[in-house]
């Protein structure tokens, strides 16, 4: 069929004065602003626009909206986008699209578009800007409410459109979101929508506009005016291009000025088909036949009709040799119950199987649905959320009824909000836009016809996108499936784009017929978000790339960048990992940094350690309950290492505690655990021990901390802090001093995480960079070397210091770590104490933290590798799985100080195996021998900490 004459001379809301060029499957076409890709293709006479996924059958456009199951295309330009319903793609100049056989293709290049999200609040959210929604929004605006009105179409007014509310709807009074699909309805009236903002602009879209925006809307009240979807009827060949939902033909006429055919058959089981006949006939379409299974069709239908077939049904749609077999040419009509077949020529078969209220969002909100026998569809039946359904979404059919219902819904919602509704109703709409003509032609209710009986149901389609037929559904019930949910999974009917929009009731009806059960008792499948497909890019918004998760940086970060540091992420922190010199890799740089710390002086940015200040007269008592050891006896000026456990006795965090004053302590936590530790402390203070006068304040970002480490660290500090007595006797290990360092007020702590003489210098965050640069300058004569987290790990592991979260995993007690000394025997109670008395925590075969020395001193064990007992080996090989494992490697490094590789491991009964040979099975199949050692491999006497 050529496109000549398919565009009506005057109908529609398109801009005929402007021509847009586009390509489909390589052919150039034109359309107008206001067109969708679907309307432009129809206007150009393009009927077949795809091939079905499973059966390879020709497919065309079935509808004019987001319920479109078949007209799904691949967009190629301006940017590849798979599986877009052509009915929802607004035409723009330069659009390039191609047909699909059921599967799209993702772009082969990164998406350059921006994506956005925004939070919005309103008294009333109205979903759907058809007559009911416009009326509801209008009353709410006039009553002074904050209103958001969202509609998936480019303009308000509804499907056909029946009204735009031009003269009575105050757009400026509400936030009107067009091209916006509300796709999810969650708890507490939280609804999520996606707004398509630039696609319709094509190449003209401003580069700084986000392509799509997610709206997260919290609404006091929600009015769902989501309309209704017309249902198909299953008969042979009901998927052929040219077969369409009847009212869509009206939409194509009134919205786009497109005639969906020149000679149409209308097949309807309800009155709405008659307004299609009237409107199309008036527009010059020849109505070849009107088919209605109801008996009488003798009344007025408002237009010339070739044949009137009351008490008949369409049994089949066909192509023919003349026009091709991939588009509609003829329609077979038979009396209900069988009889002679009449074959009618037609290029459009317009089907109305009744209307399904669109209750996806209502159902997602927790609303119950009830099957209504009179309406022949599911209707809303109560919801605990603050939601009202209005208009066609609750089964109303006339425009006037929908307008009135919208006002009623808004009045209810406003009253519930405590807002007094003003006295207002929309002016009656024009006669031409009035709903279906009086059903004088075919009185009576909706007959229960969902599918036309036949011998062969293999082309009676139920789900057009998934190629599911009545035969498939009957196969499912034949296989014993009884629930519509199970049938859905078995057949895939109602999955993908459709989500039950056109297939839902049809599937239930077929199941019901097969099982001799009513639709009411079968119910419906669950409606889940999203209502229509949403791109992952839109959902991600700006949470991608650099902004995916906050990157926390220290005050000294820019220096690390300038000096070529490599970084690693520790929790949200970005920390210097190592500082490679020219030509160095990780191993060489770390070796050099370690040597500097052990033989000269090195420094690192330790600002990321969590810091919590605890004040109050009961602060000491509080810390005694939190830590396994005693803190209340700590002298002012002194520092103590401490371990916190959970109630189960497992290590939760460790750090140092400095006593600043009798009622004032400063705690450090591990870098990743600062938040959880503070939460933990607050939980105990607030819920169990409100009687304790103690307060916790996070000060992590108040202080920048520079660790100066190595035998020459004292010399560096002495240069920077002339007022500070730095000798070991005056400033002993595990004490702190307030002083001035590099001219900056500072707190210096003699703490070491390396076993070397070391100082941690703390200054206000905003002085951090100045301190670091001063240390670098003062240390230059000693060859001071910056080091990162990798060297820190090596130095601490050489000393057997565990890292919580690396060498522990929530199943490890302090005793397992060999730190029984940190667990007080004297305290009456502390968190975790009772668990240490459990038989399980006293087992001798618990895993202990030990050192492992590979017999090949150059072999670096992978972290996580298992260790096994030689006794389990058979002929030097692992036994059949399950292989009994003794434990696993938690840390593994090359040590410059030891001149060999080494590891820490959690090994069952490990402390009783020191000196034993165990084996580590590697990924490459090798079984490598390792010797168990104590965890402290370097300076076990602790001779180095005073320099």
């Amino acid at each position: 069929m050529s496109g000549d004459g398919l565009r009506h001379a005057t109908e529609g809301r398109i801009d005929r004065g402007t021509v847009l060029r586009f390509r489909f499957d390589g052919t150039a076409y034109s359309g107008h602003p206001g067109d969708t890709l679907a309307s432009a293709l129809l206007a150009n006479g393009v009927r077949r626009i795809g091939t079905s996924v499973r059966l390879g059958r020709p497919r065309g456009v079935m509808s004019a909206g987001s319920e479109e199951p078949t007209g799904v295309v691949q967009l190629e330009a301006p940017f590849p986008d798979p599986m877009r319903p052509a009915t929802m793609v607004e035409l723009h100049d330069g659009l390039v699209a191609s047909s699909l056989s059921g599967r799209g293709r993702l772009a082969d290049r990164p998406d350059p578009a921006r994506y956005d999200a925004v939070h919005a609040h309103c008294d009333m959210l109205v979903v759907g800007a058809g007559p009911a929604g416009l009326a509801a929004a209008s009353l709410a605006v006039r009553s002074g409410a904050r209103v958001i009105l969202a509609d998936e179409r480019p303009e308000v007014g509804g499907a056909s459109p029946d009204t735009e509310g031009d003269d009575w709807f105050d757009r400026a009074g509400a936030r009107v979101l067009t091209r916006t699909t509300v796709f999810g309805y969650y708890d507490d009236n939280y609804l999520v929508a996606v707004e398509r903002r630039t696609d319709h602009l094509g190449a003209a879209a401003p580069g700084n506009l986000a392509r799509e925006r997610i709206w997260r809307i919290r609404a006091g009240q929600v009015v769902l005016a989501t309309g209704a979807h017309e249902r198909p009827i299953a008969f042979a060949g009901n998927d052929l291009p040219g077969v369409m939902l009847a009212d869509s033909a009206r939409t194509y006429l009134h919205r786009y000025g497109v005639l969906v055919g020149r000679r149409a058959v209308v097949f309807t089981i309800n009155d709405s088909g008659y307004r299609v006949v009237a409107d199309l006939a008036a527009a010059g379409v020849e109505i070849a036949a009107l088919v209605d299974p109801r008996e009488a069709t003798g009344g007025t239908v408002g237009g010339q009709v070739g044949g009137r077939y009351g008490g008949h049904v369409v049994v089949a749609a066909h192509g023919d040799d003349a026009h091709g077999h991939d588009v509609l040419s003829t329609v077979d009509i038979e009396p209900v119950g069988g009889g002679p077949t009449v074959r009618v020529d037609a290029d459009a078969l317009l089907v109305s199987g009744g209307w399904s209220p669109v209750l996806h969002l209502y159902s997602q909100s927790g609303g119950r649905l009830r099957y209504d026998e009179v309406v022949g569809a599911f209707l809303p039946d109560g919801c605990r959320q603050a939601v009202t359904v209005a208009g066609a979404a609750r089964g109303l059919t006339s425009t006037t009824a929908c307008l009135v219902d919208g006002v009623d819904a808004a009045r209810q919602a406003l009253t519930a909000l405590g807002i007094t509704p003003v006295d207002w109703s929309p002016p009656s709409v024009g006669a031409g836009a009035e709903g279906p003509p009086p059903a004088t032609a075919a009185p009576g209710g909706v007959p229960d016809l969902r599918f036309v009986p036949a011998e062969d149901y293999s082309t009676h389609f139920v789900d057009f996108q998934r190629d599911v037929t009545v035969a498939d559904v009957l196969r499912a019930t034949g296989a014993g499936l009884r629930s519509v949910e199970h049938v859905k999974r078995y057949t895939t009917a109602g999955t993908a784009h459709d989500q039950g929009k056109t297939s839902g009731l049809l599937t239930s009806a077929v199941v019901g017929q097969a099982l001799d059960a009513g639709i009411a008792e079968l119910g419906h499948t669950t409606f889940r978000p999203p209502y229509t497909p949403v791109s992952f890019a839109a959902l991600a918004g700006r949470d991608r790339g650099q902004l995916y998760d906050p990157v926390r940086v220290t005050a000294i970060h820019d220096w690390h960048v300038r000096h070529g540091a490599r970084f690693e992420d520790v929790g949200q922190w970005r920390r210097s990992w190592y500082y490679p010199a020219e030509g160095e890799g990780l191993a060489e740089a770390v070796r050099r940094e370690c040597v500097a710390a052990r033989t000269g002086v090195a420094f690192m940015d330790a600002s990321t350690l969590g810091k919590i200040e605890v004040q109050g007269p009961d602060a000491g008592r509080f810390l005694d309950r939190l830590y396994t050891n005693v803190m209340s006896t700590l002298a002012v000026g002194a520092i103590r290492y401490g371990v916190m456990c959970g109630l189960d006795g497992m290590v939760f965090d460790d750090g140092t505690v400095a006593r600043l004053a009798p009622d004032r302590f400063l705690l450090t936590t591990t870098t990743g655990n600062a938040g959880p530790v503070l939460d933990w402390m607050e939980e105990w203070l607030q819920t169990e021990w409100p009687d304790l006068a103690a307060w916790c304040t996070s000060v992590t970002d108040q202080w920048a901390t520079v660790a100066v480490v190595g035998p020459r660290s004292r010399d560096v500090l002495a240069r920077l802090a002339p007022g500070l007595a730095v000798d070991a006797a005056t400033f002993p290990f595990m004490t702190w001093r307030d002083t001035v360092v590099a001219g900056l007020p500072a707190r210096v702590c003699r703490i070491s995480f390396s076993g070397e003489l070391a100082y941690e210098v703390n200054v206000a965050w905003w002085h951090g960079l100045a301190l670091w640069e001063a240390v670098y300058e003062a240390g230059a004569p000693y060859g001071i070397t910056p080091y990162g987290t990798e060297t820190m790990h090596v130095l601490r592991a050489e000393k057997g210091y565990p890292i919580v979260g690396q060498d522990t995993d929530g199943t490890v007690t302090p005793q397992d770590l060999g730190m029984a000394w940190v667990v007080s025997k004297k305290k009456a109670d502390f968190i975790g104490k009772r668990s240490f008395a459990r038989s399980d925590t006293a087992r001798p075969d618990r895993k202990h933290l030990v050192g492992l020395l590979p017999e090949d001193p150059t072999l670096l064990l992978p972290e996580g590798v298992h260790v096994v007992d030689p006794a389990c080996l058979a002929g030097g090989r692992l036994p059949e799985p399950p292989v009994p494992m003794l434990g696993h490697v938690t840390s593994s490094y090359r040590s410059a100080a030891l001149d060999r590789t080494f590891a820490l491991a959690l090994v069952a009964g490990g402390r009783d195996r020191i000196g034993d040979r165990l084996y580590a099975p590697l990924d490459d199949g090798r079984l490598v021998p390792v010797t168990v050692a104590g965890p402290v491999l370097y300076d076990p006497e602790g001779a180095r900490r005073d320099g």
Binding site: R114, D116, A117, V118, H119, A120, H121, R146, N208, L209, A210, R216, R218, R542, D543, Q546, L547, D549, P550, V551, R552, V553, T554, A555, H557, W573, S607, T608, E613, Q615, G616, P617, D663, R664, A693, W695, T697, S698, V699, T700, D701, Q702, W703, R719, L720, P722, V740, A742, G743, L744, A764, W765, W766, H767, G768, L769, A770, A774
Partner: protein, 193 residues
């Protein structure tokens, strides 16, 4: 070695030059004095602190009190943040109140302040802040600890714009998150260029 502090002090957003925007003004307000207070909301300690500050501690959740450059933000039922101009002697004055059931912690360097002002300030914040900032819900003088994108902030409505002045909000953000927050604001503001 001792140098004047002015040459060594560096704010978390030093070097940030916000992109010019239409209807929105972004700026860092660095080095404001901040003191975290913890004490029972009622009683002699609260009275004494109120006297010291010259304003009573606000006890209504999410409110602020203040006079001149000083403002006291409600952070919790026993927690306040006292904010003053850079270099104010607040910390020292309040430190004298420490003890006797009053916790006083100088947190001046813990957070920096970002100003978001202009007729479209609220629009920009709505891209990442789930609170309803409508002047009827979050009027001048309100404060809230909340999230902007993935950063915890203390948000203060300095002026809601209803009196004709330019709407202005303060975002107090932890120093280590400041760069993320600024990057996020710049990205969200691209549409307002």
């Amino acid at each position: 070695m001792a140098e004047p502090l002015e040459t060594t002090i560096r704010s978390p957003l030093a070097g940030w030059t916000p992109h010019p925007l239409t209807g929105i003004r972004l700026a860092e307000l660095p080095f404001r004095t901040q003191v975290n207070l913890r004490l029972p909301a009622k009683g002699p300690a609260a009275d004494a602190v109120g006297l010291e500050l010259g304003v009573p501690l606000p006890v209504e959740p999410g409110t602020t009190a203040g006079s001149g450059e000083l403002s006291v933000l409600w952070l919790g039922p026993d927690e306040w943040l006292v904010v003053g101009s850079p270099g104010a002697d607040l910390a020292a004055r309040l430190a004298a109140r420490r003890g006797a059931g009053v916790s006083v912690v100088d947190t001046s360097a813990l957070r920096t302040t970002v100003l978001v002002a202009g007729p479209r300030a609220r629009d920009l914040l709505a891209h990442g802040c789930a609170l309803d900032l409508h002047p009827t819900r979050f009027p001048t003088g309100r404060c809230a600890q909340t999230l902007l994108a993935h950063a915890q902030i203390v948000l203060v409505a300095v002026d809601d714009g209803t009196s004709g002045a330019e709407p202005a909000y303060h975002l107090l953000v932890r120093s280590s998150f400041a760069n993320y927050l600024a990057d996020w604001l710049e990205d969200a503001a691209v549409e307002y260029r």
